[in-house]
């Protein structure tokens, strides 16, 4: 906080730095603006005559919403992300606690397996996993996607939890145990509330990955009723490949949830990314 005061008293930044920052911000924003221009294009405006002020042809958005079935896809993505994150936080925090506090052969094995698998991207497993899920009747189900996405995110999350918990003094847990509490309960009542920042980091980082998932969805979710957002958009683009305003409208709708979520929780987002990246 001290820093902030010092900064505000600084001399204004030189114009060239301001100019560079402005241009860079523009580069980040302009594609989104162009997308909006396309999405709101009137039916009589040819692509080549598009102006830099939107036509405000909102009807496109309504048509895209109806034809793309994005409402259902958003609900599906939400269900699978919430489910996946819940399973992940529950299992990863417990495993991280046990690994950090109990030095046993079992825990050492679990930790080594997860650490070794941390660098294997999920795509490597997809084909054999597909045949496994057919046998388990998991194709086109929420539960299978939830389990697969949670499993893929486990190594990193367990690693993060265990290193955080290891850095935490266990005196509070110990005194609870002396008072007759079990270590298991001590974890839920004492340790888990203390590791909120790790949980936030896991929820944001891995939740975002689940929300945006395509590589697994394209294999395991094939019927219309279970499609997630990325899958719905890719299929919509294949189906309406000629109507650019419609495609742009659908893409704009698909952007909104993640973008609104990010803008609303920017501080937690950035902190979560940093905690996950540098303290793990």
């Amino acid at each position: 906080m001290n820093n902030r005061h010092r900064h505000t008293q600084r001399a204004p930044m030189p114009w060239y730095r301001a100019a560079v920052l402005f241009v860079i911000s523009l580069v980040a924003v302009v594609p989104f603006y162009l997308l909006v221009l396309l999405a709101l294009k009137g039916p009589t405006t040819p692509l080549t005559a598009i102006r830099l002020i939107p036509d405000w042809h909102i009807v496109n958005v309504a048509a895209a919403w109806k034809k793309s079935n994005l409402g259902r896809a958003i609900v599906n993505s939400l269900l699978m992300t919430v489910g996946g994150v819940a399973v992940l936080v529950l299992l990863a925090s417990m495993a991280g606690y046990s690994i950090a506090r109990v030095k046993s052969g079992l825990n050492r094995i679990i930790f080594s397996i997860l650490l070794l698998c941390m660098m294997i991207p999920g795509i490597i497993n997809t084909v054999p996993l597909y045949s496994l899920l057919i046998r388990l009747r998991g194709i086109n189900t929420y539960w299978a996607m939830i389990c697969v996405m949670a499993a893929n995110a486990l190594p990193f999350s367990v690693f993060l939890y265990s290193s955080f918990i290891r850095a935490l003094p266990n005196s509070l847990e110990e005194s609870a145990v002396i008072d007759g509490c079990s270590y298991f309960s001590a974890f839920w009542y004492i340790t888990f509330p203390l590791i909120g920042p790790v949980t936030a980091s896991v929820v944001i980082l891995q939740g975002l990955g689940m929300w945006n998932n395509y590589a697994q969805a394209v294999f395991f979710l094939q019927d219309r009723a279970h499609r997630n957002i990325a899958l719905a958009i890719s299929l919509f683009f294949q189906q309406y490949g000629a109507d650019w305003a419609l495609m742009a409208s659908a893409a704009s709708i698909a952007l909104i949830p993640a973008m609104v979520f990010f803008i609303a929780f920017q501080k937690y987002f950035i902190e979560g990314i940093i905690a996950g990246a540098l303290k793990g």
Binding site: A28, L35, P121, N125, I233
Partner: protein, 288 residues
């Protein structure tokens, strides 16, 4: 009734292990086994030894995909680090509106690469893309059609990928920079250090953890690139921009399940080797 939970904490890792074993380890091990068979996705797999792996090295399309994947990573991973670091240095000094700029630069990274690729498709397609049209209007356009030229298409893919994720590497570098106490800079400039010296002796060592995490995630991410290519070029023109992970999917859908798992194993090694090398390099550097 009160449940006695004494001793449970010793086995709290078991549920995670169970989930991981079922949905990750089992398919991985099964993949290793299937890579040695002629499995077509439905049939009973027959053991054929290393035939799939031998076939891979005379499979022109597969070898071109290796080249595409490696080139994409060789361009993407260093560029993401450089651009991210440059942006972080630019944003390191406080100014009004820094949080806003940081948010704008990070925003593309929260969007699904499938959706982001689709958006860039609408903007970049020659003649029809809005971006191309606007460039043409200010007479900046050339006749280059990147959708017909494999190398140009790859360049476009790399650019879009860097555009989308530079904000992410930036945030991680920025965190590393902000952790350096300002006294260090002050002391160095009092001692008469040049800005190059300050960067090499003070800033860079502090950035090593950021560099490490950014390098590893970008190596893994760019070598397993999938969504953005499918959305932007669909692997085209021809198979010029097809990545290995797309090839795995297409082979499995083309009823060559055994072969596709062999390709997956090869991709696994293509990712494993640079990651292990990078880890080794960082361990050494940190040791000094």
């Amino acid at each position: 009734m009160k449940i006695n939970t004494t001793g449970w904490h010793k086995y709290m890792g078991l549920p995670a292990l169970l989930l991981f074993a079922t949905f990750f380890l089992l398919p991985f091990v099964r993949g290793v086994g299937l890579s040695l068979t002629d499995w077509n996705g439905f049939s009973k797999p027959t053991f054929i030894g290393f035939s799939n792996f031998i076939a891979f090295f005379s499979d022109e399309r597969a070898l071109r995909d290796v080249r595409t994947t490696v080139l994409f990573a060789l361009a993407s991973a260093p560029l993401l680090n450089l651009v991210g670091l440059a942006l972080a240095l630019l944003l390191n000094k406080g100014f009004r509106g820094r949080v806003v700029v940081r948010g704008l630069l990070y925003m593309p990274a929260v969007i699904s690469p499938m959706i982001m690729g689709s958006i860039w498709y609408l903007l970049l397609q020659p003649k029809r893309g809005l971006f191309s049209i606007l460039l043409e209007r200010v007479n900046l356009s050339s006749e280059m059609n990147w959708m017909l030229d494999g190398n140009l298409a790859l360049l476009v893919l790399v650019s879009v990928n860097v555009w989308q994720y530079a904000g992410m590497t930036m945030v991680i570098y920025l965190a590393g920079l902000q952790a350096i106490p300002s006294e260090h800079y002050e002391a160095a400039s009092v001692e008469g250090a040049t800005s190059t010296q300050i960067f090499a002796r003070i800033v860079f060592p502090q950035l090593l953890p950021s560099l490490k995490i950014n390098s590893i995630t970008n190596i893994i991410g760019s070598l397993s690139v999938f969504d953005v290519i499918l959305a932007l070029t669909d692997g085209g023109p021809g198979y010029d921009t097809e990545s290995l992970s797309i090839y795995i999917m297409r082979m499995s859908w083309g009823n060559r399940g055994g072969y596709s798992t062999a390709v997956a194993m090869i991709l696994f090694f293509i990712i494993l080797v640079p990651v292990l090398l990078a880890l080794l390099l960082f361990r050494r550097t940190e040791g000094i």
